[in-house]
Amino acid sequence: MGTLTTRFSTIQDPDEKHKFLLNMGPQHPCTHGVLRIVLEMDGEYAMGIDPILGYGHRMHEKMAECRQWSGFYPNTGRIDYGGAIPYNHGYCALIERMAGIEVPERAEYIRVITVELNRIASHFLGVGAYVIDLGAFTPILYMFDDREDILDALEDITGSRLTYCHHRVGGVSKDIDDLFIKRTRAIIKNIRSRFDMYDRLVTGNIIFQKRTKDVGIIPVEMARRYGATGPVLRGSGLGFDIRKNEPYSVYPEFDFDIPTGENGDAFDRYMVRMLELEQSLRIIEQALDKLPDGPVMAKVKRVKLQPGDCSFSVEAARGMLTYYLVGDGSNVPYKLKIRVPSYSNLSLLEELCKGSLIADLVSAMGSLDLIIPEIDR
């Protein structure tokens, strides 16, 4: 295995000789990408957990400082490839806030529709991958079936399927047509009809419940301490959602709920994601009903970033995403800080899983729904 240079490698205490190091990742089936975790194992129990990051580091924040703000925009879709549109939305809204640009109402509606569609696709990805972690291979293929419809619909208006560049500063690049609306309504109907099947296949499955209930319990206090957001925080019972608590775009015009869990265990986090699907469908339905006419792009003059700083938060699929930008009067950002949800959610892991079985570690980590390249950026 080679030498492991971690903080555990100094253990020389003779009482601890029976402990050993287990290297999980960066190419382990349950770490979803390139997370590496070094575990200090005592039999099947993980007594020490040391996540090692950086295998997917792409210098996004530095790249932002080296080019015009518009040149960085395509990068935003690559930070979280699971749910990319909220990242586009946040960046565009940030520049708009900084330059004081008014966005046409129709464009905001289209943004909300695409963001929520993307959120559903992202939750399907996260939940499906989680169930694979628990050993059931079939549900993810049903979920990808639904996700495929969404990706097809999004492909029609954005031109891409995974890393989007549809939103623009001042609006969106392409208007939606009647075909898309018809298609989206069909998708909503189809997904609603499948909830019952997911309930029977996954949620009601006794083995699934045994593997997730009372596993990886995050108390609210602990979630706050680590700055966890998104379904991880809401699963602990705190209904914090940027869409409600710090409304942006046209979200105040829609009627939707924030589902929360009770115990903060892995099952609650899973349930929050499944319930959020229905809420996202409600938002899309209302947005399609209320969709106003008009242009989808404002007249935008050349944007210079004002000296000073500005930040904008949106609710991404995995939690709170904040862009913080410092401008210096040119059109190149002086500094761009991206606060991604998975980073805080991962930092929970050590306290969460200390002393748990390796199977529970896999279950708890999967329920955090991490996207590793987002953490590394």
Binding site: F20, P29, C30, L134, G135, Y142, I207, F208, K210, A359
Partner: protein, 334 residues
Amino acid sequence: MDFIVDIIAKYSLVRILISFSLLIAIIMLNAIVMGYLERKICARIQRRWGPMEVGVQGWMQMFLDGVKLLAKQLIVPREANPFLFRMAPLLCFTPVAMAFAVIPFSESFYAMDLNIGLIYLLAMGSLNVFAILIAGWSSNNKYSLFGALRSVAQNVAYEIPILLSLLAVVLVTTSFNFKEIVAYQSGLLSFWMCQPVAFIIFLVAGCAETNRVPFDLPEAESELTAGYFTEYGGFSFGLFAIAEYGNLFIMSSVATTVFLGGWNGPFGLDFYSGPILGVFWFLLKVFILMLIMIWVRWTYPRVRFDQLMNLSWKYLIPFSLVNLLITAFIVKII
């Protein structure tokens, strides 16, 4: 023709050679058929097509996969124990081939008729543990060792309910001989009707004994990458896969013989049975059981290790003991 029959009857060595080459052919064929069926059925369960490229509906896929595995280099990890590392797949495969010797495909189609057929078969089945332990230890990989340790604990725990549930039947038949057990069920009665608890316990424990989902902890993919055969490639990996399907076949055929009436036709109808039809009924029952296991595998998640142990020690063993006691009591009265 008579000449050949004479030779076979006269020289037992010839008989052994013929039956063993036939058995190995059956094991290989079983692995190919089951591998193909598993891939096709799991694909249908998951709304995919499965293998479609090679031949009609991809029926040649498994043959070509076998050729591919044969052509691959056998890699021994640098710090592994090379002798044991190469030995383990053979040790895994041999008991399966030996256990096949006593499986009664029909009244006259079997390799060996032992008075203690059931005991012999279970003994061969439990040798599997050694191969897995050796494979896990000699690989010098922590994940492999984890898988091997889990496998040993699991197999020890689940052999007890298997034995106890079979004993309940043996108490009634008073014989370990497969022929007599089947002969006992020649009428309308099969043991799954009068011993339903034992039948269910046997199926669950058999699922665990053959390391199938939801009890596939020794090879739990998302936790241990591939468990005890993480380091194996090429045909040594192939031997593990063949042995796995062989074990599945053995478990299903024990269930068929002991609980489902073996080669007897359904509903005790005499004109449905015979040497050829007997094989047909036997294989039909065995394959129905194996397909049920495939169905379960592609539907359920995996249990956790402590839950697995609890299931055996807290539920299966006490229930099978009670079942055994009740059976003994009833047999004594009657």
